[in-house]
Amino acid sequence: MISSQLFKKIKPLIFFVIFLPSLIWCYQFINGSLGVNPIEKLMDNMGEMALRLIVLTLFISSLSEFKKFRFLIEVRRMIGLFAFFYVSCHFLIYIVLDHFFNMTFIIKDIIKRPFITFGFISFIFLTPLAITSPKIMLKKLGFKAWKKIHYLIYPASILSSVHFYMLVRANKIEPAIYIFLILVLLLYRLYYKIILPQLAR
């Protein structure tokens, strides 16, 4: 069994491993080795990485309920913040590189295109999670209020996976896997957190 103490020691390594892809892609972008349509590629890479990390935090939340995997909770906040980092990169690339601050177009796009609306709402939902992530915020808000805010991960994760599903033309299998994983993890949490406690009463 891995102890939380030991796990804390390898935390910097995990930090580095999750951060590294963004560095590599930025280097490739500047270097011109990100393919023929580098803006699209960079945006897609960042978005998909964000989705992966979101799934990972949900996975950690469920697994860490088991004693054996409790140590995982040590890295949940960090991974969640990285998810927000990648989402922010994804959104910034859309604004700066894809549409170069054409705000009238961007605002119309967000309102008119359901898949962009979903992505944008997901980003909005994730923002308070990032803001309230420091331990001080937990103390300030109190556990109950903090927890309520963090339930936003549920709609945010569903919206972001649907955002991915809607944007692809034909290869729907990969986004469908994300939706499936998220639903399974959410239903598991729902059962474990809400239904089971009520049955036990």
Binding site: N37, D98, N171
Partner: protein
């Protein structure tokens, strides 16, 4: 779009050029570089320049051949370049079928001796809102229609991509209903801008670009320009086309480039020209409005998208 007869490359020259390219590719393979194509590119620069519109510049051979939508070889943009190595475009035949006086199976090599290969620099606008400028070689589709000699009842043409799952790994998956089919109204098919392409940059089409023979209809979204054509069928009713069949609310039979009619999921008002940073405004009929708008006079383009 202006093409002077003097700019049309005679087929004999074209063949010679192919030989030249082949030998230069062999040389470049030996040398471990790929300068062959650039050498050929330079020799055609004048023809290409004459056909280029003021605001356009050619995309590179590399851009054109490494960023493709050709689901028969996979769904990623680089999949066609990576997975098409086993495809055999030679020998090739095209079957002419349906409402015609001369149904037959045409051998491509023989067909190419009868037609004049021309240079055509066209913009290609993908329905996904990216675009390129490509120097094609090919001949008017009208030439094949002449050979087929359609009956007066033939109003549409349906094209079909070859079905060879052993050589086209994407066809082993059901990402699209195979074989890929597309169609044109007969007057669109007869239009002088509509060509069957055999090459680009003076080089035989690579497998990822739809070797050995593909359609190019420059005023329509790219998916209309069906690749690796194995049959051409003349019919009396509007035929099925793969994308409109799959998602009729998103892709219409006509699929003319139209900056005013958006795809339900994204805007068609702008496009990213591959190799450029800022988006461009998309032009009506992809900039070929003068040449083709008469084909659609009186049609509600919001209904017939």
């Amino acid at each position: 779009m202006k093409i002077l007869p003097s700019e049309i490359t005679p087929y004999t020259n074209y063949l010679n050029r192919r030989k030249f390219i082949k030998s230069s590719i062999a040389t470049s393979l030996v040398l471990g570089t790929s300068t062959g194509l650039q050498a050929n590119h330079a020799s055609n620069q004048n023809i290409y320049d004459n056909q280029l519109d003021e605001n356009d510049s050619l995309n590179s051979f590399e851009e054109i051949t490494t960023y493709n939508n050709f689901y028969e070889f996979g769904m990623g943009k680089t999949d066609p370049a990576e997975n098409s190595g086993d495809f055999k475009p030679k020998p090739w035949s095209i079957s002419l079928e349906g409402l015609i006086n001369n149904p037959q199976v045409l051998d491509l090599e023989k067909l190419l001796q009868k037609v004049t290969i021309e240079d055509r620099v066209y913009r290609l606008r993908c329905v996904e809102a990216w675009s390129m400028v490509i120097p094609w070689q090919g001949f008017p589709l009208a030439e094949i229609i002449k050979i087929a000699d359609p009956l007066s009842s033939a109003k549409f043409i349906q094209f079909e991509t070859v079905f060879r799952p052993e050589e086209m790994p994407g066809q082993k998956r059901r990402s699209l209903p195979w074989p890929y089919v597309e169609g044109l109204r007969i007057d669109e098919a007869m239009h002088p801008l509509t060509i069957l392409s055999t090459g680009l940059y003076g080089h035989d089409l690579l497998n990822q670009s739809g070797a050995p023979l593909r359609l190019v209809v420059p005023w329509k979204y790219g998916f209309k320009s069906i690749k690796s054509i194995s049959s051409i069928r003349f019919v009396d009713k509007q035929p099925d086309a793969t994308w409109p069949m799959l998602a009729p609310s998103e892709y219409g039979f006509y699929s003319n480039v139209n900056n005013l009619v958006d795809h339900p999921r994204w805007s068609q008002g702008t496009e990213r020209r591959i190799g450029e940073f800022k988006r461009r405004k998309t032009m009506m009929y992809n900039g070929y409005e003068e040449d083709v708008s008469h084909l659609y006079k009186g049609m509600d383009l919001k209904k017939y998208y």
